[in-house]
């Protein structure tokens, strides 16, 4: 069964994001820093009458930013909070079939936590990532509860 995916470029890689996770795609203006915040939080930005938490997606994926300063972002909603995940560029939204990860592909670190499978675009395999995995605070919130 095919579903819609948004194809984006992050840290020089092409990734696919389930369209259901994407609320909108925006240009991010001024980012207000959140001092002492951890978890790759770039800061806060205003989006119409709403405040979104901006996530440094490149850092969250453990990649080197290489001087890139992404200005576009994918807005997603996790647990009632809106997050803007910074991306280099955005391609298009198109229907693909989600395939399981091919045998023997070893993702590491954050990529492994975020990777959900593959889609094929004209023969090119594209990694499907789960934006929720890049949003910090979920796990730590649970931990806090336990403690």
């Amino acid at each position: 069964m095919e579903q819609l995916f948004l194809i984006a470029h992050v840290a020089g890689r092409t990734v696919a994001i389930e369209a259901e996770q994407v609320e909108s795609v925006v240009d991010i203006g001024t980012i207000i820093e959140v001092p002492r915040a951890t978890g790759h939080i770039r800061g806060l930005a205003a989006l119409r009458s709403r405040v979104v938490t901006v996530i440094d997606t490149i850092a969250a994926l453990g990649m080197d930013r290489n001087g890139r300063e992404p200005g576009r972002a994918v807005i997603t909603r996790v647990d009632g909070h809106h997050y803007a995940l910074l991306v280099d560029t955005l391609d298009d939204v198109a229907p693909f079939e989600l395939q399981p990860m091919a045998q023997g592909i070893a993702l590491t670190g954050a990529w492994r936590a975020a990777g959900r499978g593959l889609v094929q675009r004209d023969g090119e395999p594209i990694l499907v990532i789960d934006l929720t995995a890049l949003v910090p605070g979920q796990n730590s919130a649970n931990l806090a509860h336990v403690a």
Partner: protein, 767 residues
């Protein structure tokens, strides 16, 4: 109370509606633990509210049902058909009574004994009573779904933000004045509406607290304890929903405190505590939370006992013993645990605590315990702040703006202000603001930001409930009402922020959590209320305040400040030797003057004007030296005379004047009053009583004596023995106590002259 009753009725009705499904399910399957728990909670809550609202019939029924259900929960009884039916009959009956109360129609209580009896083991028949048909009274208020209010509230917030954005976009542009006027009108309406909407949700926590004094009194009286309640922060506003949720837990906790926490008077005395238990209930806003604190000075939680009880209940002892003290404390929340061995009428069997925690957690709150064995238990309920519009002060730090809740700020001062002093103590900084020493926290440093300004900075004096500190910011910019929304978990996880907002500027801003910043900066405030009081008491008991002076004969003497009206310079001409003694003419009156040596021949001299009761005498001195607190150890004079005792002040002996002797010797007619009511002094500290109290009483016309002459009868007995019985004297007794503060036992603070005189007078009348 009417409001409470209405709420109780509405609540019980709603719970009953919701419970009807559970009841049917339990009936079908009596072994279903979850259903059992739900019904148990219901009767338990009804029982709690009934005691609170004084509804004895409901209390009796619910208490009986609760007993049986508790037995089922602990496995002592099997939930057989008869038992289930009996419990359900009681639940039905509760519903009927509630409807009857609401309708104001009488409902006869025949058959209720049968209902209760049917709960007994072995009774096989449920007495079905014919339910009187009760009509529901029309509701006087509308109960709204909270979701609806939520949507209204968030719609309102968005409207405020949209208005802000509109005004921002219009600002600077060349706008038609008519549009501007329309925008202004809209702004005013939005502001009005915002207030109204906020009010629909908010309620002063006083709605909860107002019923406490009565409840504490009744509960304490029922247990034969005496408890002083202190309520703080009743004006804190809370979401109505939270108020509702907090009601029962608060009742449970307060009752538990009085029942399990605060010890009986005898035990307290033995532990060196004041007989009266203290219970403090307070509410305050802290960061993004409201904290309701219930603190008592009772025995605290005995974790050892908790562990033992759980072990007895079949839990793994090794695992329990391995827990940290904190975790052991949390065992209080284990369901079905009784922290007290006997079941008491008042707080049941400690079941409250698991119910309490469940209720609080349901609204996203948490319960914190802080128990010091033998010293008391402090229980804090943290509930999230859903309050979304709050007044703030906007400050600048590191080139960025932050909002601080205005409620937290006591004052804002410029660091350049002359009355401000900043000192470095090791690595810490301390600000002294008008004699108040406050820890200083620099916001930019705490946030790990680069400081932008090196010039003038401002200090915001922030109060975080437990204490205050100075927060150094670069500037104070604005005073704004802001719509605060919760920030993302990762932002909140820093513990420094209470939320985020989008002000008119269109730039997101963070709301600082002042308590969190204090924690982060490692500030520790001592909040040992009880310890403070002990100090205070110690101070009072350490002696009385007295003026030390150099007498005319060069001797250092002291006089109790309580006697001293004022020190005055008088002209030597005003002093005359007349009618056999020295007299001073002052303020158009003649008063006896006591001089231990020659008064100045000419010029001026100092006199102490001593007043006691009606009489006044002047005492000539060379110079006033100091005001001191006299030590308790006084060396009393062997014979009555002008000097009552000698005290050691700063290593030097100081003679303490005997006010009684002075007044007796120098006030005409004051020495031998007779025919007045007889006041018998009793108890210890005879010197004190003679020296301080006797003159007051004699001046008021009493005949004062230590021992009754044969055949003499005392009209009133005055004692400073706080507890002893006066069985041998048939006269009313007035007790003096050495501590200041509110009298609970009818005693009089020993330096409260007016109180003493009026107590003696009314007692003497009775006698």
């Amino acid at each position: 109370m009417d409001d409470l009753l209405q709420e109780f009725i509405a609540e019980t009705r709603e719970t009953l509606d919701a419970l009807s499904g559970e009841i049917v399910a339990w009936e079908a399957n009596p072994g279903d633990r979850a259903r059992l728990d739900a019904i148990f909670r219901f009767v338990h809550t009804v029982k709690g509210s009934c005691g609170f609202l004084d509804l004895p019939r409901l209390a009796r029924l619910s208490h009986a049902a609760e007993d049986v259900l508790a037995a089922v929960r602990s496995g002592e009884r099997a939930p057989d058909r008869a038992l289930v039916n009996a419990v359900l009959a009681i639940v039905d009956r509760i519903g009927e009574i509630v409807e009857a109360i609401d309708a104001g129609s009488p409902l006869d209580d025949s058959g209720e004994d049968l209902l209760v009896a049917a709960l007994e083991e072995g009774s096989d028949e449920v007495a079905q009573i014919n339910a009187a048909l009760v009509q529901r009274a029309p509701a006087r208020s509308v109960r709204l779904n909270v979701d609806l209010l939520d949507r209204m509230m968030s719609g309102m917030s968005d409207m405020v933000l949209a208005r802000n954005e509109l005004s921002r976009r219009l600002r600077g542009a060349d706008v038609d004045p008519q549009i501007e006027a329309a925008l202004e009108r809209m702004s005013a309406t939005v502001a009005d509406l915002r207030d109204t909407v906020t009010r629909t949700r908010m309620q002063k926590i006083d709605a909860l607290f107002s019923a406490l004094p009565r409840m504490v009194r009744d509960t304490a009286a029922g247990l034969g304890k005496s408890v002083t309640l202190q309520v703080d922060g009743a004006e804190v506003e809370l979401d109505r929903e939270m108020i509702e949720v907090l009601r029962d837990p608060l009742v449970h906790i307060v009752r538990n405190s009085i029942d399990h926490g605060i010890e009986p008077a005898a035990e307290r005395r033995a532990a060196g505590k004041r007989e009266n238990g203290r219970l403090t209930v307070s509410a305050r806003q802290s960061g993004n939370q409201i904290i309701v604190e219930i603190a008592d000075d009772g025995r605290g939680i005995d974790t050892e006992r908790l562990v033992r009880k759980l072990v007895d209940a079949g839990r793994d002892e090794r695992a329990l013993r391995a827990l940290s003290e904190r975790q052991k404390l949390a065992l209080v929340f284990e369901p079905g645990l009784s922290s007290k061995d006997e079941v008491s009428e008042v707080s049941g069997r400690g079941v409250g605590m698991d119910v309490v925690r469940a209720a609080i957690e349901q609204i996203g709150g948490r319960v914190e315990l802080d128990s010091v064995p033998g010293r008391g238990l402090r229980l804090q309920i943290h509930v999230p702040l859903t309050l979304s519009i709050i007044p703030t002060i906007v400050v600048a730090a590191g080139g960025q703006r932050f909002a601080v809740p205005r409620q937290a700020i006591e004052e804002i001062v410029s660091e350049r202000n002359e009355s401000i002093r900043i000192d470095h103590l090791g690595t810490a900084e301390v600000a002294t603001v008008r004699d108040r020493r406050l820890p200083l926290v620099t916001l930019t440093r705490q946030l790990g930001m680069d400081s932008i300004s090196f010039g003038e900075t401002m200090l915001a004096i922030v109060n975080v409930g437990e204490g205050s500190y100075a927060l150094r910011v670069e500037d104070v910019l604005d005073n704004e009402e802001l719509v605060i929304k919760p920030a993302a978990p990762a932002v909140m996880a820093t513990g420094l922020y209470a939320g985020q907002t989008l002000p008119d500027s269109g730039c997101p801003m963070l709301l600082l959590d002042c308590a969190g910043i204090a924690r982060d900066a490692g500030l520790h405030f001592t909040r040992e209320l009880i310890a403070e009081e002990i100090e205070e008491t110690a101070e009072v008991e350490s002696g009385i305040s007295a003026l030390v002076f150099i007498d005319l004969d060069g001797v250092r003497r002291a006089v109790p400040l309580a006697l001293l009206d004022r020190i005055e310079q008088v002209d030597a001409n005003a002093v005359r030797f007349a009618a056999g003694r020295l007299r001073l003419t002052i303020d158009g009156r003649i008063v006896p003057l006591v001089a231990r040596a020659e008064f100045a021949e000419s010029g001026t001299g100092s006199v102490l004007r001593l007043k006691d009761g009606e009489a006044e005498i002047a005492y000539a001195i060379a110079d006033a030296a100091d005001i001191v607190t006299l030590p308790l150890e006084l060396v009393h004079a062997d014979t009555p005379g002008p000097v009552a005792a000698v005290a050691l002040v700063d290593g030097e002996p100081v003679e303490l004047l005997d006010p009684h002797w002075l007044f007796a010797a120098h006030v005409a007619g004051g020495a031998e009053p007779d025919g007045g009511p007889v006041c018998l002094l009793s108890g210890g500290e005879q010197e004190w009583m003679r020296g301080f109290v006797k003159p007051i009483l004699e001046a008021a016309g009493y005949r004062v004596t230590d021992t009754l002459a044969p055949g003499e009868r005392a009209d009133v007995v005055l004692t400073n023995d706080e507890h002893g019985a006066m069985s041998d004297v048939a006269a009313p007794v007035v007790r003096l106590r050495s501590r200041r503060g509110e009298a609970v036992d009818g005693s009089v603070y020993r330096y409260d002259r007016d109180g003493l005189l009026s107590a003696i007078a009314s007692a003497a009348r009775k006698g």
